[in-house]
């Protein structure tokens, strides 16, 4: 609530430059109740796990996540954090996920590069060698890196979710080039990304029904976590700091009253 009041005040004063990023003819993102919203909100770990599955099976064919390491999945606040494995590099789930990828390493003593199974310390593999290759495979468009995508777009998680669900029939006056799709939430309306989610495109490991809505919510929760992996630690520490300062303020205020008690001012 506090967050919203302050954010609203900041918006009203025109301080938040995010406001200007939302201008233009695109639809304003649809508000969604996220479990991680608010001063006490935490990530839904199961949603982050399912979202990671969506990323692996759908998004990762075009989008990189250069800032992510497999170990991040098992760190404090991560979706596969497990009791008994304070070092995420020892986490068996993380090791298994990493090992399911083949990663280039080297050079070895013979000067050759070689492939080996991934380790928790390895980065998420990128789908393309370089930007040129990515563009050539995507009709000239460059699929952005997703590590920070929720922070890097005005509207944040609401915007990404709206975008994923916002594909619709192009209106008469829309100018779409071949390989472009119409999305009312995208600035300009013409987006090169094909509608990425379709009913049953993945089958969730935990048995959740893979509706388009469900998948959008899960993958955005995962991306929000990826962009802000220490949010839970941040909010927990914030409560302690604010309580400490509040008690400190009361004590100092009482001292102030005491010291100034006999002074006219």
């Amino acid at each position: 609530m506090m967050t919203r009041i302050f954010a609203a005040a900041a918006l009203a004063l025109g301080l938040s430059a995010g406001a200007s990023a939302l201008e233009g003819d695109a639809h304003a993102p649809e508000k969604h109740e996220w479990e991680h919203n608010g001063p006490f909100g935490t990530y839904d770990d199961h949603a982050v796990q399912r979202g990671f599955q969506i990323y692996q099976e759908v998004c990762a064919s075009c989008h990189s996540m250069d800032l992510m390491r497999f170990r991040n999945l098992g760190q404090r606040g991560g979706p596969f954090e497990a009791e008994g494995f304070p070092n995420p590099n020892d986490n068996p789930v993380v090791m298994q996920i990493a090992a399911s990828y083949q990663v280039q390493d080297g050079p070895n003593d013979d000067g050759d590069m070689f492939m080996r199974p991934g380790l928790p310390s390895d980065a998420f593999p990128a789908p393309f060698e370089n930007e040129q290759q990515a563009r050539v495979s995507n009709g000239g468009a460059y699929p952005p890196d997703l590590s920070l995508i929720v922070k890097a777009r005005g509207g944040g998680a609401d915007y990404i979710r709206s975008l994923l669900l916002g594909y619709e029939e192009a209106p008469e006056d829309a100018h779409l080039s071949p390989g472009q799709y119409y999305n009312a939430y995208f600035e300009g309306g013409a987006i090169a990304m094909a509608p990425p989610l379709a009913e049953g495109i993945v089958s969730y490991a935990d048995g959740t029904e893979a509706t388009v809505e469900q998948m959008a919510e899960d993958v955005v929760t995962f991306l929000t976590w990826a962009g802000d992996p220490h949010m839970e630690a941040r909010k927990q520490m914030g409560i302690m700091v604010l309580m400490y300062l509040f008690i400190f303020a009361i004590l100092v205020y009482l001292a102030y009253r005491q010291i100034w008690a006999n002074v006219k001012h």
């Binding site: 995010g18 922070k151 962009g227 941040r234």
Partner: protein, 424 residues
């Protein structure tokens, strides 16, 4: 204001030190026994708050510099690495980024305090000018600091601001290339901005020392705008009276700061700065950090040529003029009355000045061609009107009102103002 020193070294080591380097005496006279007007209100606590934030910025900045890489290929990732992998890096980075904003909030309140209570008037002209120097240094430091994360807004903000220099006739292009260290904002620019961003806070700390020195010669101003006549009646020792009052204000301010650091660390930033700098892609709207918006609005308000000065140069001159005019303010205000409490007419013009400054900030955040809500005309016209008022306040309103205004009766002394005895 410091009278004869009342410091009495009590232990042997203090006596030994006092006859060689009387540094404890200096501290005692300046921050313990210093006679401070008894009528200071909470507007006088921002000096202490600013000192705290200078320290927060320097300490968090030194830690960040241990992990930051000033290279155009690695700078963006290194800042992300700090927030992701450095222990408590997310906290230190958030404190430093939001600390800049809170530093500016405090400095603006401190300056408005000075404008309202006439803190710039004799014998405090040098004190005021040193303050304006600190403010200028803060702006330079903040501007260069914002470039370091090397996001889109970092890069393009640097591009816009450095390009302003190019508007200077004859020498502009040469100076701009010299600042860049090349033919565009690039590796050389990033590296020198990092170097200067590390240097300038220590220069600020030095000027703050001078600022406090200049403060301690005439002593604090105060809401009544009167000097201390009898320290026994008009003043209180700084400690414990003002250490505890400043301390309370600092803690309350830190609570607001903590709310931002922990619960909305990105709300004052811009989404585009989470995209790595790309010289080939210009963001749709390039906006500076909020604390520069009023000056950005003044820059863009000049849309017409003035004689041989084209609109671009005119805007640059107006923007720098808006700060430069603060240096001569002590000689523009003709009134001998310090506090606007006793200036019934001027205080209304001051209140509108504050509104104009906030309004200019609003204009700076908006597209100049968009219509103003309710008013209907374009933002650029609002910015032009408010810019006109900004300058008129200093060069017309203050000089003229000082002569024609009849001030209210002032109390005879600070003590009398406190006791409510307003008749002299």
């Amino acid at each position: 204001m410091s009278g004869p020193s009342t410091y009495k070294p009590s232990t042997g080591i203090e006596k030994w030190l006092d006859s060689r380097l009387p540094i404890i005496r200096l501290g005692y006279d300046s921050f313990v026994d210093f006679p401070t007007p008894r009528n200071l209100n909470y507007w006088w606590t921002f000096g202490g708050i600013l000192a705290v934030f200078l320290m927060i910025q320097i300490i968090s900045g030194i830690v960040l510099a241990m992990h930051y890489v000033a290279h155009e290929d690695y700078a963006f990732d290194s800042v992300q690495r700090i927030t992701r992998d450095v222990p408590f890096g997310w906290l230190i980075q958030s404190m430093h980024a939001n600390g800049a904003s809170f530093f500016f909030v405090a400095v603006y309140l401190h300056m408005f305090r000075g404008l309202y209570y006439g803190s710039y008037k004799a014998p405090r002209e040098i004190l005021w000018i040193l303050g304006v120097v600190i403010y200028l240094l803060m702006m330079a430091t903040a501007f260069m600091g914002y470039v370091l994360p090397w996001g889109q807004m970092s890069y393009w903000g640097a591009m816009v601001i450095t390009n302003l220099i190019g508007a200077l006739p004859f020498v502009g292009d040469a100076i701009r290339e010299w600042l860049w260290g090349g033919f565009s904002v690039g590796q050389a620019t990033l590296n020198r901005f990092f170097s200067l961003h590390y240097l300038l806070p220590f220069v600020i700390a030095g000027v703050v020392g001078l600022h406090i020195w200049a403060l301690h010669v005439p002593g604090n101003g105060n809401p009544a705008g009167l000097e201390i006549k009898d320290p026994k009646k008009d003043a209180l020792p700084f400690h414990p009276y003002y250490t505890v009052k400043d301390g309370f204000a600092i803690i309350v301010y830190l609570m607001v700061f903590a709310t931002f650091v922990f619960y909305m660390p990105g709300v004052l930033g811009h989404a585009d700065n989470y995209i790595e700098a790309d010289p080939l892609v210009t963001p749709a709207h390039i906006v500076p950090e909020w604390y520069f918006l009023p000056f950005y609005a003044i820059l863009r308000a000049v849309t017409f040529d003035i004689g041989p000065i084209d609109a671009k140069l005119g805007g640059v001159l107006a923007m720098f003029g808006a700060i430069a005019i603060l240096f001569v303010l002590p000689w523009l205000d003709t009134s001998k009355v310090r506090s606007m409490r006793y200036r019934p007419l001027t205080r209304w013009f001051f209140i509108f000045f504050v509104i104009a400054a906030l309004g200019l900030g609003w204009c700076g955040a908006k597209n100049p061609d968009d219509p103003v809500p309710l008013l209907g005309f374009k933002f650029v016209y609002l910015a032009q009107f408010l810019t006109l008022y900004y300058f008129a306040y200093f060069v017309v309103i203050l000089p003229v009102l000082g002569i024609i205004e009849k001030p209210k009766d002032r109390p005879a002394s600070i003590e009398a103002s406190v006791l409510g005895n307003d008749k002299s």
